[in-house]
Amino acid sequence: MASLPSRAPFPLAERAGRVRWPATQGRRTLLRLALSTPYVGLSIWLAAHGFRSAQDVQIARAARALGTSGLSLGAVVRTFPPLAPLVSRLLPGGARSLGVVGALCTGGTLHLCWERLVRACVPRWLVAVLVGAAGASPIFWFVATGEPTDFVSVALLTVAIAGTFDFVYLGSTTGGYAAGCSLALTVLWDPGSLVYVGGVALAIPFLAWERVRREPGVSRSAVAVVTFPTVAAVAAWAFLAWRFAGHMDWSLLVSSSTPSGARAGALHGLAGAATQLAWQVCCAPVVVIGTACLFEHRPMPAIGVLVVVSSLFASSWLALRFSGLDGVVLLDIVGFVTVPAHPPRVVAVSLGAAAVAGLALSVMSSLSGGPGHLLHALGL
């Protein structure tokens, strides 16, 4: 097992970095369930009132295409990504059940963030502010309950990014398994996540910068380990699709058939993506403070974080199915990964203030667009 770096601990405190919180599996499960309960409630309420996002409709259509009476093998192997339509097809309640699945993922995601902060020995008040602000954000609520399929992707990417940090930085192969498997599942859930797989792979050499001197070849092998499951999953599915259906259906890759982003013009797409990224960063300022703190002590890993963040830009530019709101949630969570261990008071106060500011901005942004519709549906 790799030894911990000798310099200031980041992102997890050296002693507490590997301890699970809460200590027992039962307590962790209970906490996750408790955290997800309000989101599940809202999801059920929305489903009962007929609220359906464009993504839900798209997935439902793909699920129906898998066959009316039983599953059609040709349709199953042709569909890519297969997981979301299959889950939607197999779960009782169809696409509506996906809402519950997405809402259930909130518990795991919030717990992961909470646990990382505890393991980083962040003051309790700051843990409360950061997790509270993230969980209370209308954007988070909207994505978790209104765009459940996207939220599942976000949740899996969260696990993947946190796992990559643990794997590359701390040498935890548990993190490596989590990262590799989550990325593969994400791509099988939403092919747009391929961009993030690329982003994570490009970030690894920067994250592993300090290990390379001690362990030559660690970057290359870490990239191989993290990306192999994705490559294998996509290649295997492509082979089966080619053999059994002749081609793969990539229609679920993009958000709509209307040309947008780079497909509407490269330069036009660049400007739009840049604007969107700027807005996303404004709504998730914790990541800015966290990355700045990191940059002060360890510039190369900080660049790694920026590479992951730039995946949002690429996703937006390529007009993949990942929405701008999903990006805000993801950035919020990347921010948790960058929070330094044992933050000094100034940093802690800055992080707290950033979280509150991010919450305020997300409330203001939510008055229009998807979250606005959700608030309207709720009668708020």
Binding site: M1, S172, T173, G176, S221, A222, A232, R243, F244
Partner: protein, 639 residues
């Protein structure tokens, strides 16, 4: 005679945990040795200092340090005990006429009846002080008056091996079979198992004749599902193992807390058959162990007909705590039989097996003791992970290293965490010696006696764990040698499966569904997954050239899809865990080699079919793995 020569050439001895351990006794033997001019005052002072620190016997310390010869020590003791010394090698030893005496008890109590006099008294040679009580006890066992003679503990063992040669051989070969036939692999198939296999075969043949398409589809689906189940189980266990990677079985603090005085005598069994090439390295590696030398009881188990290894062992000038034990010739000539002979003469509280080419971490014995102390009495064995020092030698050694890294660093910790049966791996198994005897020792008819023993321990409600200390070995670097070794391992797994599934319901009742399922998926699943590789490969290649529409004449599309998906997913999962294993070991240059795992498994498939053939034709034949073929020096790789 060679054994005699080696025995005499040794300058020291290790044994003698009983008798003259008190400070008073130490002073007496010390003074006597000093008076006899066997040691100097400075040597005696040094040895007394060591004794205060380690609690070892003074004589053992002096012998282990090479300051006193074993013969001199026991001659001095004989004078103290006021009995004559006898050199048993000069006494004509016939076969024992004492059918009621237990060799193991005699070896433990360090006495042996060497001759009978005309007046009916028995001459007994002993390496322990013959106190009146002890003398009386010996006479009670013999049922005759006895006259006592002193001798060395090695001489007691030597005499026992000669006097009880056939009984020793029989106990080592058939002990388990006599005591517990149901757990012995001497019988390959029980009548019920043979009937079940016959019925399965009939159904298959009948199916192929009556409805070939359905039979083919059913067989394909079964093969694919079995392959997938075995691989998914391994992957799951590896994930659990990775999840527990932060759990350190023995911490540095726990290791430091062990005082030398509380370290018990540790027996090391080293079965050596045709291992002349590696013996010099073995001596070096054993000498590097961080353990008080006087508390090491090292037994080189040499086959009677292997003069070359014996000569090499003598030439290697083994350290004073290494004893050569001749394993009587007789079938089956297997490693477990040799180990069973060694077990009779083992005097340590704990016992470990090393192969001749092994290079254990120096602190491994201490870690094992700490692990035993920490876990409590239900833990009867701990397995130290194995890895290779010649990983970079060629493609085969790289693949071997990939495989061992995931197996020992993820699979075994995962099995341990899930409390599932752990198949022990050939070497570096540390036992509580008494518990090992209660388990019945090794099954000499099982060619993976180690795996069988781990499963037997679980079946009897005992626990096997793992310890964080590595033993480095020589990876097989020759393909034919590899196939020979693997075919033995796979045959042994099949033997173990057949033995422990003789009464499946009984197994479930004794260990529960979870453990029985884990056993079936791991021990039966491993050979099945290798046997499944060739048909799945054929299907894959055929499907590359023939579209499914053509194949659908033979295969229902879902069956074809399931088979191909199993093949792809199963291989991908095994590649992935192999990658992760070497990443954890920081052998980054090997990570991409994991991509060749599907080809490596094809090589396993060759070995698996060979094993299947051997199970029918030569079920108990031990395919010897040649060691000492590497050109690499056994220096430690990064840990």
């Amino acid at each position: 005679m060679a054994e005699l020569a080696s025995r005499r050439s040794s300058h020291s001895q290790v044994r003698g945990q009983r008798g003259h351990t008190s400070p008073l006794g130490a002073e007496r033997i010390g003074s006597a040795l000093l008076a006899a001019g066997e040691v100097t005052q400075a040597q005696l002072d040094w040895a007394l200092g060591v004794q205060r620190r380690t609690g070892s016997r003074l004589g053992a310390i002096l012998v282990a340090a090479g300051m006193v010869t074993r013969l001199a020590l026991y001659r001095t003791l004989a004078a103290q005990w006021e009995i004559p010394f006898v050199d048993v090698t000069t006494v004509p030893l016939g076969l024992s006429t004492w059918p009621h005496l237990d060799v193991e008890v005699l070896a433990r109590d360090l006495w042996v009846p060497i001759s009978k006099r005309a007046d009916g008294t028995v001459v007994v040679a002993t390496a322990q002080e013959p106190t009146p009580a002890r003398h009386a006890a010996i006479e009670a066992q013999l049922g005759r008056p006895a006259v006592m003679r002193a001798t060395t503990d090695w001489d007691v063992d030597y005499a026992l091996r000669h006097l009880f040669r056939f009984r020793l051989l029989d106990a080592a070969s058939h002990g388990l079979w006599r005591n517990d036939r149901e757990r012995s692999a001497r019988t390959v198939l029980t009548r019920e198992q043979a009937a079940a296999f016959g019925i399965c075969l009939l159904v298959l043949v009948g199916g192929v004749l009556a409805a070939p398409r359905i039979a083919l589809a059913a067989a394909s689906a079964t093969v694919a599902c079995a392959f997938m189940a075995a691989v998914l189980f391994k992957f799951f266990v590896c994930l659990v193992g990775a999840y527990h990677e932060t759990f350190v079985q023995v911490t540095e603090a726990e290791l430091d807390a062990l005082s030398e005085s509380e370290l018990p005598v540790y027996t090391i069994l080293v079965p050596c058959y045709r291992e002349a090439a590696v013996l010099p390295d073995l001596m070096r590696h054993l000498a590097a162990l961080d353990y008080p030398p006087e508390k090491l009881d090292i037994l080189l188990l040499l086959e009677e007909d292997d003069q070359e290894t014996r000569a090499a062992a003598i030439a290697a000038r083994p350290p004073s705590n290494v004893k050569m034990v001749t394993v009587p010739r007789g079938d089956p000539q297997t490693k477990p039989k040799a180990c069973n002979v060694g077990l009779v003469f083992a005097r340590g509280e704990y016992l470990v097996i090393y192969d001749a080419e092994d290079q254990p971490d120096p602190d491994q014995l201490k870690r094992a003791i700490a692990a035993f102390k920490k876990a409590g009495p239900e833990l009867v064995c701990v397995q130290a992970p194995l890895n290779y020092f010649n990983a970079q030698e060629n493609a085969l050694t790289r693949m071997f290293t990939l495989e061992y890294s995931f197996w020992f660093d993820y699979m075994l910790p995962g099995l341990s965490a899930l409390r599932l049966p752990i198949p022990l791996g050939g070497t570096s198994n540390h036992f509580r010696t008494d518990e090992l005897r209660l388990l019945g020792g090794w099954d000499p008819f099982n060619v993976t006696e180690d795996a069988d023993l781990g499963i037997r321990a679980a079946a009897l409600g005992k626990r096997v764990g793992v310890v964080n200390s590595t033993t480095f070995e020589e990876a097989n670097n020759a393909y034919r040698n590899f196939v020979r070794q693997r075919s033995r391992w796979i045959k042994g797994y099949v033997q173990t499966t057949l033995v422990h599934l003789r009464h499946p319901w009984e197994l479930v009742r004794s260990v529960g569904w979870r453990q029985a399922g884990g056993f079936a998926l791991l021990i039966a699943g491993t050979p099945i997954s290798f046997l499944a590789m060739p048909p799945l490969y054929v299907l894959m290649v055929v499907s590359l050239f023939l579209p499914p529409s053509v194949l659908s004449a033979m295969y229902p599309p879902w069956v074809l899809w399931t088979s191909l998906a199993s093949f792809l997913l199963g291989n991908a999962l095994m590649v992935y865990v192999s990658m992760m294993g070497v990443f954890k070991r920081r052998r980054h240059r090997l990570v991409l080699w994991a991509l060749l795992n599907p080809l490596y498994w094809l090589l396993h498939a060759v070995a698996a079919y060979k094993a299947l053939g051997q199970l029918v034709l030569r079920p108990h034949y031990w395919e010897k793995t040649e060691h000492g073929l590497t050109a690499f020096q056994s220096s430690l790789p990064p840990r």
